[in-house]
Assembly symmetry: C2
Homo-oligomer: 256 residues x 2
């Protein structure tokens, strides 16, 4: 009986989200079905971050038990074979100790949100960005973001459906970076509340278009009321880029 | 009667290529139909680079005539409206002088080719990369690429179907850049032969996996025979990133 961790990439547009739902295809179901096919018995998994429908992942992590002996490379290939043609891929696999959890051993989660900030609609990036045609001031957005750093009660940025015991979180990084046509928002914390990144992005977008001042952020936090912050940004611009653990469990990619 | 230039982005997977074909949807047909709807009469276009089926563009340029008066922003919006739901978008529009040609006034074309060089198959980047699971030596590929710089007879890298009068081209840039999981090949020249970029990439891939030495490139060029070079790399990793003119015709994007 070996505990395995896998690193996953997926296109969120193709799924109802990580978790199994009454209707539709979830990433969890695709992974567990592939692992069950391989194991010859039902396999259940635990995931680091339960992404919503439409949210993508470049480095999601999940774990599960397998009875049979197999190498990491063969496990990854076999899962990828069984998961076809779904738009999810195992990009690394590693054996982990019995007490290790993809969810509870995680000490950091990193997200990236991409706004396409140009008049023309996205052709190549459709479904991978939030298209905001009016010009946004990224410097103002970054100034506003800095007010969110550190430990706060993030009730104003928390979905009504959030099941976390506490609304307090410590935000380690929130950078707003302007590219030629995009604005990328990079967020890092030990953990996030449900919809926290998308609600922060929705608020920063209001600030970027001048609808609210950057200096309004402390009052939005202090209100501890969801209606004080901006609307929830759409899921398709959001990517779970990576999950951090005390000890790196996956081998580095061949090129590094 | 105004001559207009438009900058286009498209997802090549959705089309039979730039040019109209007997069967299937071409980017040319989608653009010309949209312009014709707007003009109320048939419109024909000239393009800078006739991309093949599966090849993407971030900065393709085409020109055409329109009778009616319109602003650049309104032309872009109207074309985008009429081109829906096809995965092509006008990202800029500009009036150009009567003698100006998207094709013949171009003094530089830039392409990027993306190889996903990791074991796991692409989930998010499916249709946007060439997946090469075995490790490639990007430094060797870059060394080989440097032999292709400058003015050469590129017959060995030219498709049988190529209609150019001369096989001589001057390659200004061919860089191979290693990322964490990708190898990007950036190619720039005044113009390219048909399949030239994909044939150069197919050859560099053989060198990267050790099937041929980097020093074999001068002999491949000297052979002036298509069978001396490697196979044609698949279209889905190729992006036309931009076209250069003596005078920049499009306004810079809002963020720059």
């Amino acid at each position: 009986m070996t505990r395995w961790a896998v690193k996953l990439e997926y296109d969120g547009a193709a799924f109802v989200g990580w978790q199994r739902q009454a209707v539709g295809v979830s990433i969890q179901a695709v992974l567990e079905q592939a692992a069950s096919n391989l194991a010859g018995e039902p396999v259940t998994s635990i995931v680091a971050g339960r992404t919503d429908s439409g949210v993508h992942a470049l480095g999601q992590v999940a774990h599960f038990y397998l009875q049979r002996d197999i190498t990491p490379a063969k496990l990854a290939s076999a899962l990828n074979f069984h998961m076809k043609p779904h738009r999810v891929a195992v990009i690394a696999a590693a054996q982990v100790p019995p007490g290790w959890s993809a969810r509870f051993s995680a000490i950091g989660r990193a997200y990236r949100y991409i706004i396409l900030n140009r008049r023309g609609r996205p052709a190549l990036a459709e479904g991978r960005v939030w298209h905001v045609p009016q010009p946004l001031d990224a410097a103002l957005m970054d100034e506003a973001a800095k007010h969110l750093l550190g430990k706060h009660d993030f009730t104003s940025f928390r979905a009504a459906s959030c099941q976390a015991a506490s609304p307090w979180r410590t935000l380690d990084r929130l950078d707003v970076v302007r590219g030629p046509e995009t604005i990328e928002i990079i967020a890092e914390a030990r953990s996030f509340l449900h919809h926290q990144v998308r609600n922060m992005v929705g608020t920063l977008k209001l600030i970027g278009e001048g609808a609210r001042p950057a200096a309004s952020v402390p009052a939005i936090l202090a209100a501890a009321n969801r209606s004080a912050a901006g609307p929830t940004a759409p899921p398709q611009g959001l990517f779970l880029t990576g999950v951090r653990y005390e000890t790196e469990i996956f081998d580095p990619p061949p090129g590094v």
